[in-house]
Protein backbone atom coordinates (compact mmCIF):
# COMPACT_ATOMS: atom_id res chain seq x y z
CA UNK A 1 0.00 0.00 0.00
CA UNK A 2 2.60 2.53 1.16
CA UNK A 3 6.35 2.25 1.59
CA UNK A 4 8.45 4.51 3.76
CA UNK A 5 11.29 6.42 2.10
CA UNK A 6 12.51 7.90 5.36
CA UNK A 7 13.86 6.08 8.43
CA UNK A 8 11.78 5.50 11.56
CA UNK A 9 13.14 6.59 14.93
CA UNK A 10 10.72 5.29 17.53
CA UNK A 11 7.85 2.90 18.15
CA UNK A 12 4.19 3.26 19.04
CA UNK A 13 1.65 0.64 19.96
CA UNK A 14 -1.52 -0.08 18.01
CA UNK A 15 -4.01 -2.40 19.74
CA UNK A 16 -1.10 -3.67 21.84
CA UNK A 17 1.14 -4.32 18.81
CA UNK A 18 4.41 -2.43 18.45
CA UNK A 19 4.81 -0.46 15.23
CA UNK A 20 7.78 1.53 13.94
CA UNK A 21 7.17 5.27 13.59
CA UNK A 22 8.85 8.59 13.09
CA UNK A 23 8.62 11.32 15.71
CA UNK A 24 6.50 14.24 14.57
CA UNK A 25 4.78 12.55 11.64
CA UNK A 26 1.03 12.21 11.94
CA UNK A 27 -0.29 9.19 13.74
CA UNK A 28 -2.38 8.42 10.66
CA UNK A 29 0.76 8.31 8.48
CA UNK A 30 2.46 5.97 10.95
CA UNK A 31 -0.50 3.57 10.94
CA UNK A 32 -0.83 3.64 7.14
CA UNK A 33 2.91 3.01 6.76
CA UNK A 34 2.45 -0.07 8.92
CA UNK A 35 -0.31 -1.33 6.66
CA UNK A 36 -3.18 -0.47 9.00
CA UNK A 37 -6.22 0.73 7.02
CA UNK A 38 -9.14 0.31 9.43
CA UNK A 39 -8.84 2.93 12.18
CA UNK A 40 -12.33 2.83 13.61
CA UNK A 41 -15.77 1.25 13.54
CA UNK A 42 -18.61 3.67 12.88
CA UNK A 43 -21.18 4.41 15.58
CA UNK A 44 -23.99 4.08 13.04
CA UNK A 45 -23.47 0.63 11.51
CA UNK A 46 -20.24 -0.61 13.08
CA UNK A 47 -18.54 -0.78 9.68
CA UNK A 48 -14.76 -0.34 9.50
CA UNK A 49 -13.29 2.94 8.28
CA UNK A 50 -9.93 4.44 7.59
CA UNK A 51 -8.74 7.94 6.76
CA UNK A 52 -10.03 9.62 3.64
CA UNK A 53 -8.52 13.12 3.61
CA UNK A 54 -5.60 13.27 6.10
CA UNK A 55 -6.24 17.00 6.48
CA UNK A 56 -8.59 17.15 9.42
CA UNK A 57 -11.80 17.35 7.45
CA UNK A 58 -13.31 13.87 7.19
CA UNK A 59 -13.30 12.56 10.79
CA UNK A 60 -12.91 9.05 9.42
CA UNK A 61 -9.48 8.52 11.04
CA UNK A 62 -10.76 8.66 14.64
CA UNK A 63 -8.75 6.60 17.10
CA UNK A 64 -8.22 6.29 20.82
CA UNK A 65 -4.92 7.91 21.88
CA UNK A 66 -3.66 7.20 25.40
CA UNK A 67 -7.25 6.58 26.44
CA UNK A 68 -8.61 9.80 24.89
CA UNK A 69 -11.36 8.88 22.47
CA UNK A 70 -12.35 10.19 19.04
CA UNK A 71 -8.99 11.77 18.29
CA UNK A 72 -8.26 12.64 14.65
CA UNK A 73 -5.21 10.52 13.86
CA UNK A 74 -4.18 12.85 11.04
CA UNK A 75 -3.82 15.76 13.48
CA UNK A 76 -2.02 13.95 16.31
CA UNK A 77 1.78 13.99 15.98
CA UNK A 78 3.67 10.81 16.81
CA UNK A 79 5.69 10.79 20.00
CA UNK A 80 7.74 7.80 21.14
CA UNK A 81 5.73 5.13 22.94
CA UNK A 82 2.29 6.55 22.09
CA UNK A 83 -0.45 4.02 22.82
CA UNK A 84 -3.18 3.96 20.21
CA UNK A 85 -6.27 1.84 19.79
CA UNK A 86 -9.15 1.51 17.38
CA UNK A 87 -12.13 3.78 18.04
CA UNK A 88 -15.03 1.37 18.32
CA UNK A 89 -18.40 2.99 17.77
CA UNK A 90 -19.40 5.99 19.81
CA UNK A 91 -17.34 7.36 22.67
CA UNK A 92 -17.99 5.44 25.85
CA UNK A 93 -17.94 6.80 29.35
CA UNK A 94 -14.73 5.22 30.61
CA UNK A 95 -12.88 8.20 32.04
CA UNK A 96 -10.45 9.62 29.51
CA UNK A 97 -6.91 9.30 30.80
CA UNK A 98 -5.35 12.64 31.58
Amino acid sequence: MFRRTEPTDCTITWEGRTLPARTGESLAAALLAAGITAFRETPVSGSPRGPLCLMGACFDCLVEVEGAQNMQACLVPVSPGLRVAMQRGARDFVEDAA
Binding site: P43, V44, Q69, N70, G89, A90, R91, D92, F93, D96
Partner: protein
Protein backbone atom coordinates in the same frame (compact mmCIF):
# COMPACT_ATOMS: atom_id res chain seq x y z
CA UNK B 1 -65.63 26.43 -0.91
CA UNK B 2 -64.63 29.14 1.51
CA UNK B 3 -61.07 30.38 1.10
CA UNK B 4 -58.53 30.60 3.89
CA UNK B 5 -54.90 31.62 3.89
CA UNK B 6 -52.32 30.65 6.46
CA UNK B 7 -49.23 32.85 6.60
CA UNK B 8 -46.16 31.06 7.91
CA UNK B 9 -44.93 27.54 7.21
CA UNK B 10 -43.77 26.71 10.71
CA UNK B 11 -45.36 23.98 12.75
CA UNK B 12 -48.20 26.22 13.99
CA UNK B 13 -49.04 27.33 10.46
CA UNK B 14 -48.97 23.76 9.20
CA UNK B 15 -51.10 22.51 12.09
CA UNK B 16 -53.63 25.31 11.61
CA UNK B 17 -53.78 24.62 7.87
CA UNK B 18 -54.16 20.89 8.44
CA UNK B 19 -57.04 21.25 10.88
CA UNK B 20 -58.85 23.85 8.81
CA UNK B 21 -58.47 21.81 5.62
CA UNK B 22 -60.12 18.91 7.43
CA UNK B 23 -63.06 21.13 8.28
CA UNK B 24 -65.71 20.60 5.59
CA UNK B 25 -66.15 23.54 3.24
CA UNK B 26 -62.69 25.11 3.55
CA UNK B 27 -59.99 25.47 0.94
CA UNK B 28 -56.64 26.38 2.48
CA UNK B 29 -53.50 27.87 0.98
CA UNK B 30 -50.35 28.28 3.07
CA UNK B 31 -47.81 30.98 2.20
CA UNK B 32 -44.25 30.66 3.44
CA UNK B 33 -41.59 33.29 2.78
CA UNK B 34 -38.65 30.87 2.73
CA UNK B 35 -39.29 27.19 3.17
CA UNK B 36 -41.35 25.10 5.52
CA UNK B 37 -39.75 24.70 8.95
CA UNK B 38 -37.11 27.35 8.26
CA UNK B 39 -36.79 28.82 11.76
CA UNK B 40 -37.68 27.52 15.23
CA UNK B 41 -40.03 24.77 14.05
CA UNK B 42 -37.36 22.72 12.37
CA UNK B 43 -34.60 23.25 14.88
CA UNK B 44 -36.11 23.32 18.37
CA UNK B 45 -35.40 20.75 21.07
CA UNK B 46 -38.57 18.80 20.30
CA UNK B 47 -39.75 18.74 23.89
CA UNK B 48 -43.24 17.28 24.37
CA UNK B 49 -43.68 18.66 27.85
CA UNK B 50 -46.49 19.59 30.18
CA UNK B 51 -44.07 19.82 33.09
CA UNK B 52 -43.58 23.30 34.46
CA UNK B 53 -46.05 25.05 32.16
CA UNK B 54 -47.30 28.45 33.28
CA UNK B 55 -50.69 27.84 34.89
CA UNK B 56 -52.79 29.40 32.06
CA UNK B 57 -51.05 27.10 29.55
CA UNK B 58 -51.65 23.82 31.34
CA UNK B 59 -55.14 23.14 29.98
CA UNK B 60 -54.10 23.51 26.33
CA UNK B 61 -50.91 21.58 27.01
CA UNK B 62 -52.92 18.69 28.45
CA UNK B 63 -55.11 18.58 25.32
CA UNK B 64 -51.97 18.67 23.19
CA UNK B 65 -50.43 15.81 25.17
CA UNK B 66 -53.42 13.59 24.33
CA UNK B 67 -53.00 14.52 20.68
CA UNK B 68 -49.30 13.64 20.80
CA UNK B 69 -50.16 10.18 22.09
CA UNK B 70 -52.30 9.77 18.99
CA UNK B 71 -49.98 11.63 16.64
CA UNK B 72 -49.74 8.71 14.19
CA UNK B 73 -53.49 8.86 13.65
CA UNK B 74 -53.41 12.64 13.34
CA UNK B 75 -50.66 13.03 10.75
CA UNK B 76 -49.85 9.52 9.55
CA UNK B 77 -46.39 9.42 11.13
CA UNK B 78 -45.13 9.00 14.69
CA UNK B 79 -42.98 12.16 14.32
CA UNK B 80 -40.29 10.39 16.33
CA UNK B 81 -42.41 10.92 19.46
CA UNK B 82 -41.26 8.84 22.41
CA UNK B 83 -43.02 9.08 25.76
CA UNK B 84 -39.81 8.78 27.74
CA UNK B 85 -40.88 11.27 30.40
CA UNK B 86 -39.73 14.68 31.48
CA UNK B 87 -37.75 15.24 34.65
CA UNK B 88 -36.96 18.56 36.28
CA UNK B 89 -34.17 17.95 38.78
CA UNK B 90 -33.76 19.68 42.12
CA UNK B 91 -30.15 20.51 43.00
CA UNK B 92 -30.75 21.72 46.54
CA UNK B 93 -33.20 21.62 49.42
CA UNK B 94 -34.45 25.02 48.30
CA UNK B 95 -35.16 23.58 44.83
CA UNK B 96 -37.05 20.70 46.44
CA UNK B 97 -39.21 23.08 48.46
CA UNK B 98 -39.94 25.10 45.34
CA UNK B 99 -40.91 21.94 43.46
CA UNK B 100 -43.22 20.76 46.20
CA UNK B 101 -44.99 24.12 46.26
CA UNK B 102 -45.33 24.09 42.48
CA UNK B 103 -46.81 20.60 42.32
CA UNK B 104 -49.19 21.42 45.16
CA UNK B 105 -50.36 24.44 43.18
CA UNK B 106 -50.90 22.39 40.02
CA UNK B 107 -52.72 19.65 41.93
CA UNK B 108 -54.93 22.20 43.64
CA UNK B 109 -56.15 23.15 40.16
CA UNK B 110 -57.06 19.53 39.53
CA UNK B 111 -54.14 18.43 37.37
CA UNK B 112 -52.37 15.21 38.22
CA UNK B 113 -49.55 14.93 35.67
CA UNK B 114 -46.78 16.47 37.78
CA UNK B 115 -45.30 14.38 40.56
CA UNK B 116 -42.52 15.08 43.09
CA UNK B 117 -39.99 12.26 43.40
CA UNK B 118 -37.15 11.71 45.86
CA UNK B 119 -33.46 11.16 45.32
CA UNK B 120 -33.76 7.37 45.00
CA UNK B 121 -36.40 7.65 42.29
CA UNK B 122 -34.57 10.35 40.35
CA UNK B 123 -31.46 8.17 40.42
CA UNK B 124 -33.51 5.23 39.15
CA UNK B 125 -34.86 7.39 36.31
CA UNK B 126 -31.49 9.02 35.59
CA UNK B 127 -28.67 6.67 36.59
CA UNK B 128 -26.05 9.05 35.16
CA UNK B 129 -27.22 12.11 37.08
CA UNK B 130 -24.77 13.86 39.39
CA UNK B 131 -24.91 12.81 43.08
CA UNK B 132 -25.77 16.36 44.14
CA UNK B 133 -29.27 16.04 42.62
CA UNK B 134 -31.70 15.50 45.49
CA UNK B 135 -35.04 14.97 43.78
CA UNK B 136 -37.22 16.07 40.92
CA UNK B 137 -40.60 16.79 39.42
CA UNK B 138 -41.55 14.11 36.92
CA UNK B 139 -44.20 13.88 34.20
CA UNK B 140 -44.03 10.28 33.11
CA UNK B 141 -46.17 10.49 29.96
CA UNK B 142 -44.34 13.46 28.50
CA UNK B 143 -41.41 12.96 26.17
CA UNK B 144 -39.91 14.32 23.01
CA UNK B 145 -40.21 14.16 19.25
CA UNK B 146 -38.06 14.86 16.20
CA UNK B 147 -38.79 18.45 15.14
CA UNK B 148 -37.93 18.28 11.44
CA UNK B 149 -39.67 14.94 11.06
CA UNK B 150 -42.70 16.48 12.77
CA UNK B 151 -42.63 19.43 10.38
CA UNK B 152 -42.45 17.15 7.36
CA UNK B 153 -45.21 14.91 8.72
CA UNK B 154 -47.53 17.87 9.30
CA UNK B 155 -46.66 19.17 5.86
CA UNK B 156 -47.44 15.86 4.19
CA UNK B 157 -50.69 15.48 6.15
CA UNK B 158 -51.72 19.05 5.29
CA UNK B 159 -51.08 18.44 1.61
CA UNK B 160 -53.04 15.19 1.73
CA UNK B 161 -55.89 17.13 3.33
CA UNK B 162 -55.87 19.47 0.35
CA UNK B 163 -53.70 22.36 1.56
CA UNK B 164 -51.74 24.12 -1.16
CA UNK B 165 -48.31 25.04 0.17
CA UNK B 166 -46.54 27.91 -1.59
CA UNK B 167 -42.93 28.44 -0.52
CA UNK B 168 -40.85 31.49 -1.38
CA UNK B 169 -43.71 34.01 -1.18
CA UNK B 170 -43.40 36.98 1.14
CA UNK B 171 -46.43 38.91 2.39
CA UNK B 172 -46.14 42.67 1.97
CA UNK B 173 -49.59 43.98 2.90
CA UNK B 174 -52.99 43.16 4.39
CA UNK B 175 -56.18 45.00 3.56
CA UNK B 176 -59.92 44.64 3.84
CA UNK B 177 -61.79 44.45 0.53
CA UNK B 178 -65.16 46.01 -0.26
CA UNK B 179 -66.68 42.51 -0.17
CA UNK B 180 -65.49 42.04 3.38
CA UNK B 181 -62.75 39.58 2.56
CA UNK B 182 -59.03 40.10 3.26
CA UNK B 183 -56.58 40.91 0.50
CA UNK B 184 -53.09 39.58 1.19
CA UNK B 185 -50.51 41.38 -0.91
CA UNK B 186 -47.31 39.48 -1.64
CA UNK B 187 -44.18 39.90 -3.68
CA UNK B 188 -45.86 37.60 -6.20
CA UNK B 189 -49.30 39.10 -6.56
CA UNK B 190 -52.40 39.36 -4.40
CA UNK B 191 -54.36 36.62 -2.68
CA UNK B 192 -57.87 36.97 -1.32
CA UNK B 193 -59.49 34.99 1.44
CA UNK B 194 -62.32 35.09 3.93
CA UNK B 195 -60.08 34.06 6.80
CA UNK B 196 -56.34 34.53 7.30
CA UNK B 197 -54.09 33.05 9.98
CA UNK B 198 -51.01 34.90 11.17
CA UNK B 199 -48.55 32.14 12.11
CA UNK B 200 -45.44 34.05 11.09
CA UNK B 201 -43.43 33.39 14.24
CA UNK B 202 -40.88 36.09 15.01
CA UNK B 203 -42.26 38.15 12.13
CA UNK B 204 -45.92 37.81 13.19
CA UNK B 205 -45.98 41.11 15.13
CA UNK B 206 -44.87 42.84 11.91
CA UNK B 207 -47.74 41.18 10.08
CA UNK B 208 -50.13 42.37 12.79
CA UNK B 209 -48.70 45.85 12.27
CA UNK B 210 -49.54 45.59 8.56
CA UNK B 211 -53.12 45.11 9.74
CA UNK B 212 -52.79 48.20 11.92
CA UNK B 213 -52.54 46.30 15.17
CA UNK B 214 -49.78 46.77 17.72
CA UNK B 215 -49.01 43.71 19.81
CA UNK B 216 -46.06 44.10 22.16
CA UNK B 217 -43.59 41.39 21.38
CA UNK B 218 -39.86 40.82 21.45
CA UNK B 219 -37.73 38.23 19.71
CA UNK B 220 -36.18 35.11 21.08
CA UNK B 221 -33.15 33.29 19.70
CA UNK B 222 -32.70 30.32 21.98
CA UNK B 223 -29.40 28.55 21.53
CA UNK B 224 -28.93 24.82 21.32
CA UNK B 225 -25.99 22.43 21.32
CA UNK B 226 -25.81 18.92 19.92
CA UNK B 227 -23.03 16.48 20.75
CA UNK B 228 -21.52 13.57 18.91
CA UNK B 229 -23.27 10.22 19.30
CA UNK B 230 -22.92 8.71 22.75
CA UNK B 231 -23.99 5.35 24.14
CA UNK B 232 -27.56 5.46 25.44
CA UNK B 233 -27.44 6.79 29.01
CA UNK B 234 -30.58 8.84 29.58
CA UNK B 235 -34.19 8.27 28.49
CA UNK B 236 -36.23 11.22 29.81
CA UNK B 237 -35.77 14.83 28.81
CA UNK B 238 -34.18 16.64 31.73
CA UNK B 239 -34.50 20.19 32.99
CA UNK B 240 -33.35 21.90 36.17
CA UNK B 241 -35.36 23.75 38.78
CA UNK B 242 -33.29 26.87 39.34
CA UNK B 243 -31.07 26.89 36.28
CA UNK B 244 -31.76 27.08 32.55
CA UNK B 245 -31.34 23.61 31.07
CA UNK B 246 -33.01 21.27 28.65
CA UNK B 247 -31.13 18.05 28.09
CA UNK B 248 -32.11 15.02 26.08
CA UNK B 249 -30.52 12.14 24.26
CA UNK B 250 -31.98 11.44 20.84
CA UNK B 251 -32.63 8.02 19.37
CA UNK B 252 -29.38 8.32 17.40
CA UNK B 253 -27.39 8.85 20.60
CA UNK B 254 -26.61 12.54 20.20
CA UNK B 255 -27.36 14.80 23.16
CA UNK B 256 -29.30 18.00 22.56
CA UNK B 257 -28.72 20.74 25.13
CA UNK B 258 -30.62 23.99 25.43
CA UNK B 259 -32.61 25.75 28.07
CA UNK B 260 -33.30 29.18 26.67
CA UNK B 261 -29.82 30.70 26.69
CA UNK B 262 -30.17 33.55 24.23
CA UNK B 263 -28.19 34.29 21.09
CA UNK B 264 -28.41 37.47 19.06
CA UNK B 265 -31.12 37.68 16.44
CA UNK B 266 -31.32 39.99 13.47
CA UNK B 267 -34.94 39.90 12.41
CA UNK B 268 -34.46 42.07 9.33
CA UNK B 269 -31.73 39.82 7.98
CA UNK B 270 -33.60 36.70 9.14
CA UNK B 271 -30.45 35.46 10.83
CA UNK B 272 -29.28 34.84 14.34
CA UNK B 273 -25.89 34.40 15.91
CA UNK B 274 -24.75 31.97 18.56
CA UNK B 275 -22.96 33.74 21.41
CA UNK B 276 -20.52 31.25 22.82
CA UNK B 277 -19.81 33.28 25.92
CA UNK B 278 -23.37 32.65 27.09
CA UNK B 279 -23.73 29.23 25.48
CA UNK B 280 -20.83 28.22 27.72
CA UNK B 281 -23.29 28.42 30.63
CA UNK B 282 -25.52 25.79 29.03
CA UNK B 283 -22.49 23.54 28.60
CA UNK B 284 -21.49 24.12 32.20
CA UNK B 285 -24.92 23.34 33.64
CA UNK B 286 -25.19 20.22 31.48
CA UNK B 287 -21.78 18.98 32.52
CA UNK B 288 -22.53 19.65 36.18
CA UNK B 289 -25.80 17.73 36.14
CA UNK B 290 -24.45 14.94 33.90
CA UNK B 291 -20.69 14.80 34.57
CA UNK B 292 -20.27 11.94 32.08
CA UNK B 293 -20.79 14.29 29.12
CA UNK B 294 -17.93 16.67 29.95
CA UNK B 295 -15.64 14.89 27.45
CA UNK B 296 -18.32 14.63 24.75
CA UNK B 297 -17.68 16.69 21.66
CA UNK B 298 -20.03 19.38 20.53
CA UNK B 299 -20.83 18.87 16.89
CA UNK B 300 -23.04 21.88 16.21
CA UNK B 301 -24.79 24.75 17.85
CA UNK B 302 -27.60 26.88 16.51
CA UNK B 303 -30.43 29.22 17.33
CA UNK B 304 -34.05 29.36 16.27
CA UNK B 305 -35.81 32.68 16.02
CA UNK B 306 -39.32 33.27 17.30
CA UNK B 307 -41.56 35.84 18.91
CA UNK B 308 -41.62 36.44 22.64
CA UNK B 309 -44.50 38.38 24.22
CA UNK B 310 -43.76 40.22 27.48
CA UNK B 311 -45.40 37.50 29.59
CA UNK B 312 -43.85 34.60 27.64
CA UNK B 313 -47.29 33.29 26.68
CA UNK B 314 -48.66 32.92 23.16
CA UNK B 315 -51.02 35.25 21.37
CA UNK B 316 -54.05 33.39 20.01
CA UNK B 317 -57.11 35.30 18.91
CA UNK B 318 -58.86 37.34 16.23
CA UNK B 319 -57.38 40.67 15.20
CA UNK B 320 -59.04 43.72 16.76
CA UNK B 321 -58.29 45.86 13.70
CA UNK B 322 -58.83 43.44 10.82
CA UNK B 323 -61.66 40.98 11.54
CA UNK B 324 -61.09 37.67 9.78
CA UNK B 325 -57.37 37.73 10.63
CA UNK B 326 -56.44 35.30 13.41
CA UNK B 327 -53.16 35.43 15.30
CA UNK B 328 -51.27 32.42 16.55
CA UNK B 329 -47.70 33.23 17.53
CA UNK B 330 -45.41 34.18 20.38
CA UNK B 331 -44.95 30.69 21.78
CA UNK B 332 -41.67 31.96 23.23
CA UNK B 333 -39.71 28.75 23.18
CA UNK B 334 -42.39 26.33 24.35
CA UNK B 335 -44.77 26.03 21.43
CA UNK B 336 -43.66 22.72 19.93
CA UNK B 337 -45.75 20.58 22.24
CA UNK B 338 -48.76 22.91 21.91
CA UNK B 339 -48.81 22.86 18.11
CA UNK B 340 -51.41 20.10 17.47
CA UNK B 341 -53.89 21.65 19.92
CA UNK B 342 -53.19 25.30 19.08
CA UNK B 343 -53.67 24.55 15.38
CA UNK B 344 -56.98 22.87 16.12
CA UNK B 345 -58.13 25.81 18.22
CA UNK B 346 -57.18 28.42 15.63
CA UNK B 347 -58.83 26.41 12.86
CA UNK B 348 -62.06 26.34 14.88
CA UNK B 349 -61.85 30.06 15.57
CA UNK B 350 -61.41 30.66 11.85
CA UNK B 351 -64.18 28.30 10.75
CA UNK B 352 -66.87 29.13 13.29
CA UNK B 353 -65.64 32.03 15.35
CA UNK B 354 -65.44 30.05 18.57
CA UNK B 355 -63.68 27.08 20.12
CA UNK B 356 -64.13 24.90 23.15
CA UNK B 357 -60.39 24.49 23.41
CA UNK B 358 -58.83 26.45 26.29
CA UNK B 359 -57.20 29.37 24.48
CA UNK B 360 -59.19 32.30 25.92
CA UNK B 361 -56.27 33.26 28.18
CA UNK B 362 -54.09 33.98 25.16
CA UNK B 363 -56.08 36.83 23.63
CA UNK B 364 -53.98 39.88 22.83
CA UNK B 365 -56.52 41.88 24.85
CA UNK B 366 -54.38 41.12 27.89
CA UNK B 367 -51.91 43.73 26.62
CA UNK B 368 -54.56 46.41 26.03
CA UNK B 369 -53.84 49.66 27.81
CA UNK B 370 -56.91 50.59 29.92
CA UNK B 371 -58.62 53.59 28.39
Amino acid sequence: MRQALVIGGGLHGLSTALHLARTPGWQVTLLERRHVGRHSSGVNAGGVRRLGRALPEIALSVVAAEMWHGIQALVGDDCGFRATGQVKVAESAADMARNEARVAEVRALGWRHEEVVDQAEVRRLLPAVSPHVVGAIVTRDDGSADPMRTVMAFRAAAERAGVTIREGIAVTGLARTAEGTIRVQTDQGDFEAERVANCAGAWAPDLAALAGETIPCGTKASMMIVTERLPAFVDPTVGATARALSFKQTASGTVVIGGGHQGRSDKAAETSTVLFGSLAHAARIAAEIFPCVAQARIVRSWTGTEARPPDDMPVIGESRTLPGLFHSFGFAGHGFQLSPAAGAAVAELMARGATNLPVAAFSQDRFAVPA
